[in-house]
């Protein structure tokens, strides 16, 4: 019998349908979660940097702490929300890709919020007087700072993507690892390894690594280019 690596390469090169289905679903879930987390987290982080309100410090500490939220706990929270007796049970989202997107959004959001806050706070210190002089109020400064901090913010978004694509716990609990429906790369690796079906596990592992590498390379290249280009 062939070793796991030989099987893995055969699967990758052969374009195995089940393999591609798993990859497709993983990307769909994680990218959706990244997009949603950015739509919420970028403005939220910037507002947190610019606006002073009572309890601001507590909110900042909370988001910093949530960056270390264990994925299984995020999964458990979403599970409780979506389970039949939970507050959102009526939506019947448990064990669907939507539930997985929700759980991963919960994992990425604190990273995006915290990094955005720190980046925009630094920029605000530099820009504040000039923007006020040019006629901008705090709310108008938010999009300005987000755009001018775009290179640094990309790092945070990428860290979020890395966290979501690597985690097993959350998607396993709320997705249920149902073949052809909610099975992602990480849950499939867990299952196939425990079954002794190492070929598929190794193939998925290789692809996961390659994706992460490619993405980081692209982000690093974009950062270098932008630094040279934008100053």
């Amino acid at each position: 019998m062939d070793g796991p690596f030989a099987i893995a390469f055969a699967l990758i090169i052969g374009g195995d349908a089940a393999l591609w289905q798993i990859i497709g679903l993983s990307l769909r879930v994680t990218l959706s979660a990244v997009v949603i987390a950015c739509l919420l987290g970028l403005p939220l982080g910037a507002v947190l940097a610019l606006v002073r309100f009572p309890g601001r410090g507590a909110v900042i500490v909370l988001f910093n702490a949530l960056m270390g939220l264990p994925p299984v706990v995020a999964g458990l929270v979403v599970y409780l929300l979506l389970s039949r007796s939970g507050p959102l049970g009526g939506l019947a989202l448990l064990f669907t890709p939507s539930a997985m997107i929700l759980a991963q959004t919960l994992l990425i959001l604190p990273i995006v919020v915290s990094l955005t806050r720190s980046v925009t706070e630094d920029l605000w210190a530099e820009y504040r007087e000039q923007l006020r002089s040019l006629g901008a109020n705090r709310w108008q400064a938010v999009p300005t700072l987000l755009w001018d901090g775009r290179v640094s913010l990309l790092t945070g978004v990428l860290a979020g993507f890395g966290r979501a694509s690597a985690e097993v716990g959350a998607v396993l609990i709320v997705g249920g690892n149902i073949a052809g429906h909610t099975r992602t790369m990480t849950t499939a690796i867990t299952l196939e390894t425990s079954r002794g079906n190492l070929g598929l596990a190794v193939a998925l592992g290789i692809i996961l690594m390659a994706l992460t590498l490619a993405l980081n390379a692209a982000a690093w290249g974009a950062g270098q280019w932008a630094r040279g280009r934008l100053g």
């Binding site: 530099e126 040019l134 901008a136 934008l230």
Partner: protein
């Protein structure tokens, strides 16, 4: 000279009455009363720490006085038709063109009018060749030129300048001084701080002399330079250390 159309109601004179500013229990500006009259070039002189920058920031509306009143003739709380150029201007991490367009968008100018104003500004200041360049990668002199152009594009009636040449070499300084003179010739009121007495003599019509947060003299420049009344001002002109 292609001055931009100025349609806003007149915002000058700007009246300061008994204006003080305190921070951390220290009075940094004390009881300043003065009118900034239209069409003049006012140079604010004084030693480091005399309160020159604070004075400009108060006038421009970046900070609020802790006592006294600052009133624009237009009755606005903070007049729109004003601009300020800082010693080290903050340029956005965008192209030269985008930097010029930014305040115009904040003013609510429609896109076509913004484009037109940006094109005219680039043309007027010889920046057309740099239009697409990232503003942060320009030389110090070019950056300050862009900051002045950006201020001009806002069609200000009064332009505040805080040591605009302090970080520049002599040739860049000459260019900036010429720009300031041109602005004044177009009718823009100039209020500027400098520690360069030569520059003050070249540009000033009026001089306000600050000493330890107080306005000691405010007179036409010719009179001031011919012989200031206050001993602090005489010492300052003579280059003595005054404390």
């Amino acid at each position: 000279m292609t001055a931009l159309p100025r349609t806003d109601p007149p915002i000058l004179p700007l009246r300061l009455q008994g204006v003080s500013f305190a921070a951390g229990g220290q009075t940094l500006l004390d009881g300043i009363t003065l009118d900034i009259t239209p069409g003049r070039r006012l140079i604010v002189l004084g030693a480091n720490g005399a309160g020159k920058s604070l004075f400009l920031r108060l006038c421009h509306g970046l900070i609020e006085p802790s006592a006294g009143h600052i009133r624009w003739a237009s009755g606005e709380a903070r007049a729109r038709a004003q601009a300020m150029v800082f010693q080290r201007p903050v340029l956005l991490r965008r192209s030269v063109m985008a930097n010029l367009e930014y305040p115009l968008a904040l003013m609510g100018l429609p896109r076509a009018q913004r484009r037109d104003t940006v094109a005219r500004t680039l043309d007027r200041f010889g920046l057309a060749a740099l239009a697409e360049r990232p503003a942060r990668l320009l030389s110090g002199g070019e950056q300050q030129r862009l900051a002045l152009a950006r201020a001009w594009a806002m069609a200000p009636q009064v332009l505040f300048l805080d040591e605009p040449c302090a970080a520049l070499d002599p040739s860049a300084t000459r260019i900036i001084e010429a720009m300031i003179s041109d602005f004044a010739a177009e009718g823009i009121t100039i209020v500027m701080t400098t520690h360069d007495l030569g520059q003050a003599r070249r540009l000033a019509q009026d001089v306000a002399f600050l000493h330890r947060g107080r306005l000691i003299e405010h007179r036409p420049a010719a009179d001031f330079f011919a012989g200031p009344e206050a001993p602090e001002a005489r010492a300052f002109l003579a280059g003595d250390l005054i404390w």
